[in-house]
Symmetry: C2
Subunit: 296 residues, 2 copies
């Protein structure tokens, strides 16, 4: 397999828009940076001075919250009002009714809870879990269960995806989230889901029209029995297929069929399982590139 | 297992002296940076202007090679003369009679070959291979074969080490080096050594009294049959012992018994095999910290 150039391209696809980094305004709570915002979005927030305090202009400025908002609950309530208003005006789309914690780093107690759809606008760190569901084949090779996203999904319709993956919401541990999503997305029974093994994390950094997206994905390996067949449960997946790892690698390297961030988790899988070797030019670029973002 | 603070300390132990970084002088060949040197060592090189060209002072200066040295062979011959002279004067110790390639990044054709003992003085990138030799135990857990370094080794005498590890010399691929060292250090037969699986890399950056050391270690997992017993072959290892992974983890976290850089490879092993979980505070710091150095 010498698909490394393609893999490097997929890593680049996940790390785009970084030239805009110097134009973003830091977002601070309790003096700690928890996000970065585009100037255009900051302008919307200036209209809500009881909630958001904007000091200065551009990258040397900063956004913080009104000092009387001195608890997570108070902040969350007031910020939710602002975000609802901006949603009504059409500035925030893709509402999920799912709360994300706003933190300076993972495991920090949440300083604020916000609707998931606002995460990229506020430029907060977002975390997710991705499960490589694999099967050992008779010849010794591995195969991966791959999901095809439903055509009705608002994001990435029709793209290939992990058997199980999801954002990390407030109030669940990663382990609980993995087991919940295993059941909801693929009909994996709890006893089997419990054997999913945490194997590390990848990170990436995207600056898009919407905003700043510093994502960390926790990676899991779940070995599935050869006779297990996942079944779509909640309409988010149109079908599942079992593909030899070589075929998955080829798809990742030579097409954009996979949802982009899945590619990082699959490349990490290929590295950890010895499908790539240090003899291949670009191996170290892959190892380093998988954690290009803010892995904290 | 909640030994993460200890693991973070071992990562810090490998990444020391970085406050000196701004005082180092870049070393360039063909216009590409291949190393960084301490001002004191640069002063020695000033005495050999037919070989080393020193422009400027301090960090804004640079060290390069005389322009007539326009091939790897010519450079290697002249630089070897200088290094021999400095060795005779006592400025370079620990001569190994082993050539390291000098490169701007791994897999780049060597621009110069130098004696391994001079690597840190010149501040060149050094690469190594570390093999986690593990055994699946009856209860499902893993155990690692651990070497005790001979008390007569010049470096790290008496410390715990991987079953097989070594610097990556000029003229061997990583795979060839793994198989060679498996035989030489532990008596692992070629057919078994050939099953070692590349699983990634870790990197770290040390600035010591000797100089700048940006190291990359390629990690391998080698599953050994329960009845295989490694045997010291070349006097570099005093003995081997098989330790349950929990015991190895405890030793890494709570002692400095292991040669320092082995700790990074073992922590990476613990992460990849699910001995650590995202629920443990510091998990992401570990993931990111394992590749703190220049992973290129």
């Amino acid at each position: 397999m010498d698909l490394v150039d393609g893999f490097l391209q997929r890593i680049s696809d996940c790390n785009v828009g970084l030239e805009e980094l110097p134009t973003l305004m830091p977002f601070l709570i309790e003096g700690k940076e928890v996000g970065k915002m585009k100037p255009g979005f900051v302008d919307h927030l200036r209209r809500f001075p009881d909630t958001f305090v904007v000091d200065g202009l551009g990258p040397s400025g900063r956004v913080s919250l009104a000092p009387q908002l001195d608890s997570c609950d108070k902040r969350s309530a007031k910020v939710a009002e602002v975000l609802s208003a901006l949603r009504a005006e059409g500035h925030i789309s893709g509402w999920r009714d799912e709360l994300y914690p706003v933190v300076p780093s993972f495991q920090h107690p949440p300083l604020l809870l916000v609707e998931r759809a606002a995460a990229t606008h506020l430029g907060i760190k977002a975390y997710g879990i991705h499960v490589n569901g694999f099967v050992r084949q008779a010849g010794g090779g591995l195969a991966l269960w791959v999901a095809r996203r439903s055509l009705t999904k608002p994001n990435w319709p029709g793209k290939l995806d992990h058997i199980v993956a999801g954002g990390q919401p407030h109030g669940l541990s990663c382990r609980e989230n993995v087991e919940k999503e295993c059941g909801e997305e693929a009909g994996i029974p709890p006893q089997l889901a419990a054997t999913a093994r945490p194997v590390g994390a990848v990170s990436y950094l995207t600056i898009s029209a919407t905003g700043y997206k510093p994502d960390v994905l926790f990676c899991y390996d779940l070995e599935l029995p050869p006779d297990f067949v996942p079944t779509p449960q909640d309409g988010e997946v149109s079908d599942f297929s079992l593909k030899p790892v070589d075929e998955v690698a080829e798809l990742v390297a030579t097409t954009t069929e996979f949802k982009t961030n899945c590619c990082l988790v699959i490349i990490d899988f290929l590295i950890r399982h010895g499908y790539l070797t240090p003899e291949q030019p670009g191996y170290l670029q892959l190892v380093a590139g998988l954690r290009s973002g803010d892995c904290s």
